[in-house]
C-alpha cells in the first residue's frame, strides 16, 4: 500500500445524500462476469446514460465525467456516504478510480472503517464547510489539515492508529501481526479460564 502523506488535487463534488454501497459497487457487477474491472461500474447508475456501464456512454451531468475534474484524487461527498451493506468493494473501487481522500459530513460506519483498509482517507467536516470547498485542495495527513487555496486551513480529526497506518503505508493486518505473541498468551490463559468456550470445538 502506498503511504499517504500529502494529496494535492481538485476535488470532485458528489454531494447527494445517502449514496449507499450498492450504488458505489452494484451487486450484479460484483458477482456477475463482467467485461470490465469493477471500478468501471462504480456509481454505474449515476455515471452512465441509461445506468448501464456496458452499453451506456458516460453521463456528462455526473461530476466524475466532468473534464474539469479529470485525474482528481479527492472526492467531496454528501451526508451518510457509503451507508448500506458492508461490502468492501465500495472503497476498493473508489481507490481504483484514483481517489485517496473523501471529504464529507458523515459516512456509513463500516464503509468509513473499510476505507482505511484501502488506503483511502475519509475526512469528516461540517456540511457547510464541505460544500464551500472548491478548486485545488491540499490534504496533509501529518498535520491533519485541508488547505483550500492559499489561505483557508481546516483541521480534521484522525485516529492516531489510522494515521500511523496511512503514513507507513501499512494496514491493520500488518499492525496486528506484531502482537502475535500476546494473542497466543491470551488464548492460553483463556483455555484455562473458559474451557467451555474451546473444548466442544476440538
Amino acid at each position: 500500500m502506498e503511504p499517504l502523506r500529502v494529496v494535492r488535487s481538485v476535488a470532485v463534488p458528489v454531494l447527494m445524500a445517502n449514496v449507499d454501497t450498492d450504488v458505489i459497487t452494484p451487486m450484479r457487477r460484483i458477482v456477475g462476469r463482467s467485461e470490465h474491472p469493477l471500478h468501471h461500474y462504480a456509481f454505474e447508475a449515476l455515471r452512465y446514460l441509461g445506468g448501464d456501464g456496458d452499453t451506456g456512454r458516460p453521463d456528462p451531468a455526473f461530476p466524475l465525467n466532468d473534464p474539469r475534474y479529470a485525474g482528481a484524487s479527492i472526492m467531496l461527498t454528501g451526508p451518510n456516504f457509503g451507508c448500506g451493506s458492508s461490502r468492501e468493494t465500495a472503497p476498493a473501487a473508489i481507490a481504483a478510480l484514483g481517489f485517496r481522500v473523501l471529504i464529507g459530513p458523515s459516512f456509513g460506519d463500516i464503509f468509513f472503517n473499510n476505507c482505511f483498509q484501502q488506503g483511502v482517507l475519509p475526512i469528516t467536516l461540517d456540511e457547510a464547510v464541505v460544500e464551500g470547498l472548491t478548486g485545488e485542495l491540499t490534504v496533509e495527513v501529518e498535520t491533519q489539515t485541508v488547505t483550500a487555496g492559499s489561505t483557508t486551513v481546516i483541521s480534521f480529526e484522525l485516529n492516531p492508529l489510522r494515521k500511523a497506518c496511512l503514513l507507513e503505508g501499512t494496514d491493520m493486518i500488518g499492525m496486528s501481526l506484531g502482537y502475535a505473541d500476546r494473542i497466543g498468551a491470551w488464548q492460553d490463559r483463556d483455555r484455562v479460564a473458559r474451557p467451555w468456550a474451546w473444548e466442544t470445538l476440538a
Binding site: 460506519d109 484501502q118 494515521k163 494496514d171 494473542i183 468456550a197
Partner: protein, 483 residues
C-alpha cells in the same frame, strides 16, 4: 414524532446516595459496568493507540459471499489461518433455493462456492456446505448449533451478525479485509462504541410480533436512532420474548443505526443454548452457566443514550418507503408520495396489491416465524391467488426439517405457497432470485432499500404473520383479521 425517553425513570433505578448507611459496608466494587463493558473488557488482548482495542474473536463466521475474498487476501500475503477451529463457514448468500440445486444453479454460486470449499479445506475450517443437513443462513445456523454462546465475541463479514447479540454475545459485522484480519490473527481491531439502553415497556397484543416492535422503534426514533451505539435491549417485553423473537429484534438493530445489539442472557437463553451440537456439556456446562449468570448490567450503570418504547398499543407494522424507518401501522395510511414505491400520500397501506411474498431471511425464517405464518394460514383459510408468487424459505435445513415434522410444509403448500431450500434467497438477490422491476413484494427480511430485492423491486417489510395474511389476500393485509 418526538421520542419519549424515560430518562427520569432510568435514573430512579440508581441507588440513592447514602442508601446503604447503617448496614454493613458493601464489598468495594468498581464503577458500575454494563453488559457490553463486561464482555468487551475480557476480550482485550492489547490496547492500541487512538482508543482502539485488539480484541480476541471467539467465533468467526464466514460465508460464500465474503469468505473467498478473505482467503484470497491471506493467500496473497502468504499468511495462515491462525485458529481454524474458531471459524465456521456456511453456504447461504449465493445458493439457489430451488429443489435439486447445485453450485451451478446460480452464477455467483458456481464462482464462489468452490473457492470457499477450497479455502476451508486447506485451512481446516468446518464448512456447512450446500448439501449439509446443517446448511442455512449464517445467523440462523450459528445459534442453532451452539456455535454462538453467551459471553463470546463473534464477528462475521455480514452486517446482520448483530442477530447473535440476542444470546448475550458481543457480535458485529466486519468488512472483507477484516475477515482476512481475523483469519490471520483471530483478533479484530475496534473501538468500544458509545452505549445505548433501549427499554421496551408494556406487553404485545395478539398478532403483534418482534418484527413489528423493531420496525415501530425505528420508525419512532429514525434509522439513525441509535447511530453508532452498542445497544442493550431490556425491559419486560424483552424478558417475555423467546430467543427467536429476540434474534429478530437484534437482527434489525443495524437498521436502527446501531453498531450491534445485545440482550443479557437469562434462563430463556440458557434453555435455548443447552444441548446444542457445540454447546458445553457436563461439568463445563455448570462452569459456563456460572460465568453467564454474571453477564448483566449493574444497577446504576450509566449509558450514553437511554431510549424507551411502549409497545402495548402497537399494531402490526408495514414499511411503505425505501428505508426501514418509513414504516406505519398496517391500518394506517401512507404519509407521503413515494414514486419508487408507487404509493400516494393518504392511501391506506392495507389493500395495496402485492405480486410476491417472501417469508425468509435471517430476520424471520426460524421455526417460530414459520409457525406464526402457518398459524395465520390455518386460521384465515383460502389460497394464494394465482397472480401472487409466495415463497417460504426456511432459515436452515434444521428449521426446514423441524417445520416439516410439524406438518407446516403441507399447510403452506396446500394454501399455494412454495416451500423452498434454505438460504438468503430473495433477501438480497445475489443468488439470482429477484423481485422483478416494479413488482411489489411483502417481505420478512430486513432491508427495503432501492433495488435490494432486484432492480426496481418494491419491498414492504413486515412480520411473517402479516406476510402470510397478505399472501392469502393478494393485498397487504392485517393479520389480526385472522385472530
Amino acid at each position: 414524532m418526538q421520542p419519549d425517553p424515560l430518562n427520569g425513570q432510568a435514573q430512579q433505578e440508581r441507588p440513592a446516595p447514602g442508601a446503604g448507611e447503617g448496614r454493613p459496608p458493601e464489598p468495594v466494587t468498581a464503577v458500575p459496568t454494563t453488559l457490553v463493558d463486561r464482555v468487551w473488557d475480557t476480550h482485550v488482548v492489547a490496547s492500541l493507540p487512538g482508543g482502539y482495542d485488539l480484541l480476541h474473536v471467539d467465533r468467526h463466521l464466514i460465508h460464500d459471499l465474503g469468505g473467498p475474498g478473505g482467503f484470497r487476501e491471506i493467500d496473497k500475503r502468504n499468511l495462515e489461518v491462525r485458529s481454524p477451529m474458531l471459524t465456521f463457514a456456511v453456504t447461504d448468500h449465493c445458493v439457489s433455493s430451488e429443489t435439486g440445486r447445485t453450485d451451478a444453479s446460480t452464477r455467483p454460486g458456481s464462482l464462489l462456492l468452490p473457492l470457499l470449499r477450497d479455502g476451508c479445506r486447506r485451512s481446516g475450517i468446518t464448512l456447512f456446505d450446500i448439501d449439509s443437513p446443517e446448511q442455512g443462513i449464517v445467523h440462523v445456523v450459528a445459534p442453532e448449533l451452539g456455535i454462538v454462546l453467551p459471553g463470546t465475541l463473534v464477528v462475521c463479514g455480514d452486517s446482520h451478525t448483530c442477530t447473535n447479540g440476542a444470546l448475550g454475545a458481543l457480535a458485529w459485522g466486519i468488512g472483507t479485509s477484516e475477515v482476512a484480519h481475523v483469519l490471520a490473527t483471530q483478533c479484530v481491531v475496534e473501538r468500544k462504541p458509545p452505549q445505548c439502553r433501549v427499554t421496551l415497556e408494556g406487553a404485545l397484543r395478539p398478532g403483534v410480533h418482534a418484527k413489528d416492535v423493531i420496525l415501530a422503534l425505528i420508525a419512532c426514533y429514525g434509522v439513525d436512532g441509535a447511530a453508532g451505539h452498542a445497544v442493550e435491549f431490556t425491559g419486560p417485553v424483552v424478558s417475555a420474548m423467546d430467543m427467536e423473537a429476540r434474534m429478530t429484534l437484534c437482527n434489525l438493530s443495524v437498521e436502527f443505526g446501531a453498531k450491534f445489539a445485545m440482550i443479557a442472557p437469562d434462563t430463556t437463553t440458557f434453555d435455548f443454548v443447552a444441548g446444542r451440537r457445540y454447546s458445553p456439556a457436563g461439568e463445563q456446562w455448570d462452569q459456563a452457566l456460572a460465568a453467564w449468570r454474571t453477564l448483566a448490567t449493574d444497577p446504576g450503570a450509566v449509558f450514553d443514550l437511554e431510549l424507551a418504547f411502549e409497545v402495548s398499543s402497537l399494531a402490526p407494522q408495514v414499511s411503505w418507503g425505501t428505508n426501514p424507518g418509513q414504516t406505519v401501522a398496517v391500518d394506517a395510511t401512507v404519509p407521503e408520495d413515494n414514486a419508487y414505491m408507487g404509493l400516494r400520500a393518504g392511501q391506506p397501506i392495507a389493500g395495496t396489491p402485492v405480486d410476491r411474498v417472501f417469508i425468509g431471511s435471517c430476520a424471520n425464517a426460524r421455526l417460530g416465524d414459520l409457525l406464526a405464518a402457518a398459524d395465520i394460514v390455518r386460521r384465515a383459510g383460502g389460497r394464494v391467488p394465482a397472480s401472487v408468487q409466495a415463497w417460504v424459505v426456511p432459515g436452515s435445513q434444521q428449521v426446514k426439517a423441524q417445520a416439516e415434522a410439524l406438518g407446516l410444509r403441507e399447510v403452506f403448500e396446500a394454501a399455494g405457497f412454495e416451500w423452498r431450500q434454505p438460504g438468503c434467497s430473495m433477501c438480497l438477490a445475489t443468488n439470482e432470485e429477484y423481485v422483478g422491476p416494479g413488482e411489489r413484494c411483502i417481505s420478512t427480511s430486513n432491508r427495503n432499500f432501492v433495488g435490494r430485492q432486484g432492480p426496481g423491486a418494491r419491498t414492504h417489510l413486515a412480520s411473517p404473520a402479516t406476510a402470510a395474511i397478505s399472501a392469502l389476500r393478494g393485498v397487504i393485509a392485517d393479520p389480526r383479521e385472522a385472530e
